[in-house]
Amino acid sequence: MPLDKVVPDFRQAVADVFDGASIFVDGFGGPGGMAQFLLLTLWERGVKGLTLISNTAGIGMTAGFGVPGGRAYIDHSILIENGRVKKIIASFPVAGNPSRVTPFERAFRQGKIELEVVPQGTLAERIRAGGAGIGAFYTPTGAGTLVAQGKETRAINGREHVLEYALTADFAFVRAARADRAGNLVYKGSSRNFNAVMATAARVTIVEADEIVEVGGLDPECIITPCIYVDRVVPRPKDDTPVLAETYYARVGARAKP
């Protein structure tokens, strides 16, 4: 059944993620739309030298972005603070409030991690281009600013545009609200954001789905990510205790506090 992409557990889903791989990680900033179980499993596997491409560099776990008071979920930070990440490509890398120093900011200040800051729309568009086979594009965003430094520019209709190249990755970690067994996906609310773009541009797209239905169980008019983009679908457990920050801290506390 090659059109059935459901794999039973997270370990199997990320088994082929290799040292040095590039990974798209969604989550606008908070836990919504973030594939925390995939991140947790990858941390458990100990893969290193990763490049993460994501809207943030993990701000939710430290700064409480997008999460109702009192709760906190793991995010990219668990890979960063354990030295697994070589480079981050992000638009919103650090907490808005400078007093909330994230694991990424700490690693960055220690010179342990590379950063490429990309305007959010250019990041989304570069990933879309990667998925769509567009080699590069001219955007007015960032013209005349730091992000245009060293890049080609061109006046189009009298306005300066910057040449930006497509961005692809080895893997995408996507979180969907519902998937069918063939890998057609729908999201919920604002959690669609980068997920639906990243799903198109990775060599291997791995989906953590809150619910899995049979083929035909999704309205064909409402499918946001057609299954052509999806390689694996893993059911996300209803109980999110394993991906709560407190669970993680209890685990690493018992071993070696970061």
């Binding site: 650090v94 959010q120 989304a124 600013t145 669609r192 773009v197």
Partner: protein
């Protein structure tokens, strides 16, 4: 010339009043994107009878008020990570589409905070050089793409330095696209001749505003106090 030290002590508009003044700029039916901070407050003060269509780069169009306490949903946030209420008429879209809307000129008004605004309409709002790292986020796309850019900010920074400057010394967000600056002491419009001082906060004079502003201001013939 006014005395700097005493000017810095002089009462200015609070954030809510500043947002109220900015809210008057929103025409009926406009598509509006509100940045993080003071801009977000603007939606609370839109004059009655005006219907706006709110866009958020988190992938939401047509959102309404914030969620009630206890009703927060992690799957429905704005760009600042605040929780929105589920209201009829919303539409959701992915990030490439969210920014296509901005860059493509489909957002009428973007209200942004600023670290500095120059007399040429340049905007710097993503990195304090002393921090050495910053969040561009969606600001550059908004600033590059929205039809009209309104900046809301305090007139001077925490050290009392003017934020309205001749040339931005902080890393730029966009060049030459700011059209109106609403601060806690003044309303300044970008004109081909330069920055035009149109309104002052109650009790403030043009000279006093000028004293806290780096570039030379033009003063509108009908200069008046901000009214709400």
């Amino acid at each position: 010339m006014a005395d700097m030290a005493s000017l810095l002590e002089k009462p200015r508009l609070d954030r809510d009043t500043l947002a109220m003044r900015a809210a008057l700029e929103m025409p009926d039916g406009a598509v509006v994107n509100l940045g993080i901070g003071i801009p977000t407050l603007v939606s609370q003060y839109v004059p009655e009878g005006r219907q706006l269509l709110y866009h958020s780069e988190s992938g939401v169009l047509g959102y309404g008020p914030m969620a009630d306490p206890g009703q927060e949903d992690m799957d429905l946030i704005n760009a600042g990570g605040q929780f929105l209420k589920w209201v009829p008429g919303m539409a959701f879209f992915h990030s490439a589409d969210a920014f296509a809307m901005m860059r493509g000129g489909h957002v009428d008004i973007s209200v942004l905070g600023a670290l500095q605004v120059s007399e040429k309409g340049d905007l710097a709002n993503w990195m304090l050089p002393e921090r050495g790292i910053g969040n561009i986020g969606g600001a550059m796309d908004l600033a590059a793409g929205a039809k009209r850019i309104i900046v809301t900010m305090e007139h001077v920074d925490k050290k009392g330095h003017p934020k309205v400057v001749r040339e931005c010394s902080y890393p730029l967000t966009v060049r030459g696209r700011v059209s109106l600056v609403v601060t806690d002491i003044a309303v300044l419009a970008m004109t081909p001749q330069g920055l035009l001082l149109k309104e002052v906060a109650p009790g403030w004079t043009a000279d006093e505003v000028q004293a806290l502003t780096e570039p030379r201001l033009l003063v509108a013939p009908d200069l008046h106090e901000i009214t709400l």
